[in-house]
Symmetry: D2
Subunit: 338 residues, 4 copies
């Protein structure tokens, strides 16, 4: 931690800060520059990070030296984390994992039809929401446990793994029972109670980036889960909110290599939400694979005209199959496989 | 709802859309322009809003005519909502309501000291967090029920009302017991399960705007609460996330008159989070009052150097008292009182 | 400047950096922490600021200590700058300066009518664009020199000072002749050639903040003008671009006290562009005055229905007059006058 | 154009609007819905676009149907524009064009060394700034005409084409003489006078997207150039400004397929500015190629430690060569070639 003093900081103020630092068991180092005096603080940065040093008289600003996350960091674990999702499906290695399915579980028939189609195209995980976070209280809110049961049935029939979103701490037991991967949605990325609860679960967690979360905040939310003991976290970039309004969100493709350099956790991309337009999904998917992601989660619906949510960003099964062909080539070009 | 067709839309495609619209019990009106054909849809817009018409072949875009919120809207209720908070304190009328206190409840002594100071300065509501949403799992997470009890004690001793943040649906009973106003924080503005639960509570709700939520989304989240039967919702603008990094957030002062024109609900401002720097809090507070807000919620701490959270944005009690003097003049200048 | 090294930085790499720093005539100070080694650099920070030290092997990041601006800084000049605009009108002191007029100069008659109306209401500066930056090449582009002449005529007839926007370095002589205050628009805030040219002019400059410029970048653009010798710069906050789309821009009211603390230059606010809706202009104007700005620049048009640009954000003269009444009270409440 | 009326609009107000529309030579169509009356306007939308209809009494909002750009639009020209840059280098076809070189021209020796290296790696265009837009007036501002001459010499020696940035309308003749492609930088994307001038030039123009410009505004700026007669415009996505601060900007990879669907113009990507970190450039470059861009413009410097600008985002020549190998594979995977 570096404490930068104001040009008019007095000796007394400096002494006051130095004493505070020492009282915390840390070692202050004063350095007098041409225009500013600064105090370097040596020791456990976490101790001082939580201190409001900026309010001390004479302080201009405080600059942290270290990253605030630990367990998710590459410094903590050098090699890539590979997570065994079950059914011999592993994420984080050479093979990319394709997750696909409808935005929400609507009925048995459509779900099974979609599941079979995405499996045929090469997906190994079925996505589908039973509990849906909707902007409007008057929109379809999901089928709840009934939807989870349909997902379990689809798993039984196709052998696909199931990823589905949890929205409430009280549903943990249900998700332990029905889900293979528990998704925490973008709107709940800083629902810290939920993070702590999924951190105690036995299932891998798919954590979506909040729509206006920085990479650091995203990793801090993952840190919550790891700090409770669950190290099987898959990160998911799903587009951030910007001023651009032609697309629903802006896919932050930079975040893929950035997170790969900062963390050992696998990262996938959701090109459906990141664009909001099915016509842009293929290009966004190819970009994500070329940038080095470990998988994709794509919305597929056999009849988007009838979808109860997100129809405009869902691919038809045949478009998804064509996309898979394209992605196999791109994956190979970057030394991966699908 | 207006459906704009592509320049190359075929007769068949138009027929297909028209039939869909009719099947929904709505009336389509076709209008052929110089460069585009458009279809106006007459009837309950809510029915068609949830249809993914954009995926129909031949459709270029779909434009809603009406606002998606109802109960929170000025169209629904013309006059300002005035909420009785208890103790003869009413928000939404001529008198501005000042809420103040520490970011988090840390210990009995500090809390009582702060409570007395803010009461003396003219506040009628004491703020303080017992459950704290913190970016890092290693930061102070709040005292929990113990903190709620301290707040209740402070109420007993000072007569101040209590506003404090709920973070989990499972804590509803606790908050019914201890809180006068239940706060839903910015990070939970789209925690829809929590919105539904506080919508069933008997307490007024203070709903903070999400850091990257549009005004419309903010009002839709309030709509969730009202749609469950709780009409006593106080909105709170607390700064939005922008590219500017000198301040912690950007106070969206435009939102005050904008929300006043769109909704009948009272709106207050949190100048502490909206700036992140105590030195900017007085100017932001004066701006908020001049723009027409119904109250403020301000962080005050008798010893920011020792605060366990948000010390850099907390005012000393004497600065808060001075600010109250300033605000009384500004309030009077705009026909209000404090 | 602080150079933070990677945890795996070698002795050789550290030596290499230390030598580089010494070669620049600066003094390196090495400090070995628990997890990181850092090198403090003492001496003229400007010398090292332009060095790409981040690319040196072993470097994790480089953190500047000092602000990059000098002449515009409060450190350089403690007291507020008061600029004499002519006609005994001074900006930066106790009295707020009101600038008002149409978005663009359209014709003699409308301009004179507006000028008289805003003068009557209490404005001392007439705004109006002769050269207009328009998003579309097919929109009205302004009357050019003809418009400047009309402005000069309005000045002669009313005694109002003239502020009008320059868009091209080749027009400097024209603006010396016709304008009392030369405006550099938001879209040209980083047109550095233009900044240098107005920096050589004898006229005060009104510099608008770019729609996505940070406060630091804004001050750096002002620094360009001062560094060429023209110290008479008025800053203007006019709304920044954010995700919020209900308003045209988001008025960054925090920027007023922030800039007041960082710089000695006067700052005004443009509530018309900052909101984009005339109905929100009064509240935004009151907020700006309450926050401590030194003046406003407001769009006023006697017949917005016929305005060739920005009609939706222009006030009618009678609304402007009513606003002036409100603002006088707010100004008084904060110890200023209009 | 669709005019949506307020629920309380009177017959008189409607009549007033209808008359205005007719007076403009357009045809109004009134449609009375359940909650709102709307007026569709048929005819040349451009005529009505510039009218401030939103200020008419009784109007709630006005919604345009058509896109505001014409000449740059796919509606205007179906097939992709292929631009002949000279030397048999064409952009917009199957082959991707690689532009590379230093941020700024610093001296003859470094420039030639870089030029030879990037040519050897497969680039066909040399980039390098002689006039540099720098945030600080105290930073290196470029060599001016001397730099242009060095670029011309490098062209002579290597056969590479030259792309370099123009910053002032008064330099047009110089750029006609020395440049093969004239670059308009992000900070000048809405310097409309400059756009008009390059629109009259004989050279192809490389137009960079403004850091906070929407796709629509970007295309409107291109429209300025085409409307002056110069149809040889290459668009360049170079990252947009968002709240994310780990990277310098956020590469908007969605913009590539979005612009391809809206416009016939070729689009390239600048991965150096879009990331600001050389370590992220390869992944961003691969993503851009996979998403369908027509080329890249990459900063390469043989000695980033000594670069006078943008050293932290420049690739070493050997890294650039390795990247080219990667990109050839990705290009092939998406049916293109380099």
């Amino acid at each position: 931690m570096i404490i930068v003093l104001r040009p008019d900081a007095t000796q007394e103020q400096i002494k006051h800060i130095v004493e505070k630092v020492k009282k915390l068991g840390l070692k202050p180092m004063i350095s007098r520059g041409t225009e500013r005096t600064i105090i370097g603080v040596i020791g456990e940065e976490d101790i001082i990070r939580v201190q409001p040093l900026e309010v001390f008289p004479g302080v201009e600003k405080v600059m942290p030296i270290l990253k605030p996350f630990k367990l998710v960091s590459r410094d903590f674990k050098k090699e890539d984390t590979v997570i065994d999702l079950g059914n011999n499906v592993k994420i984080g290695g050479k093979r990319l994992i394709m997750m696909a399915g409808p935005c929400s579980v609507e009925n048995r028939k459509v779900l099974l039809k979609t599941a079979k189609a995405v499996k045929k195209a090469g997906a190994t995980v079925l996505r589908g929401g039973a509990y849906k976070p909707r902007t409007s209280p008057y929109s379809f809110q999901g089928l709840g446990e009934k939807g989870l049961k349909m997902l379990a049935e689809a798993r039984k029939e196709t052998g696909l793994l199931i990823v589905t979103e949890i929205m409430d701490t009280k549903d943990v037991a249900l998700f332990e029972k029905y889900a293979d991967i528990v998704q925490v949605g973008a709107r709940n990325m800083q629902n810290f109670n939920l993070l702590k609860e999924v951190g105690k679960m036995s299932r891998p967690v798919l954590l979506k980036r909040g729509m206006s979360s920085t990479i650091k905040e995203f990793l801090m939310s993952a840190e919550y889960i790891l700090s409770e003991g669950n190290f099987n976290v898959i990160l998911c970039e799903r587009g951030i909110r910007t001023f651009e309004d032609y697309t629903r969100f802006t896919l932050d493709v930079n975040a893929i290599p950035a997170i790969k350099s900062l963390s050992h956790l696998p990262i996938i991309v959701d090109p459906s939400h990141a664009t909001g337009k099915w016509g842009l999904v293929p290009a966004a998917s190819r970009a994500a694979v070329a940038a080095g992601c470990d998988g994709l989660i794509v919305e597929v619906h056999p009849n988007p005209e009838e979808a109860l949510s997100d129809g405009t960003q869902s691919l038809l099964p045949e478009k998804f199959e064509a996309l898979m062909q394209e992605l196999r080539k791109v994956a190979e070009a970057v030394g991966r496989e699908i």
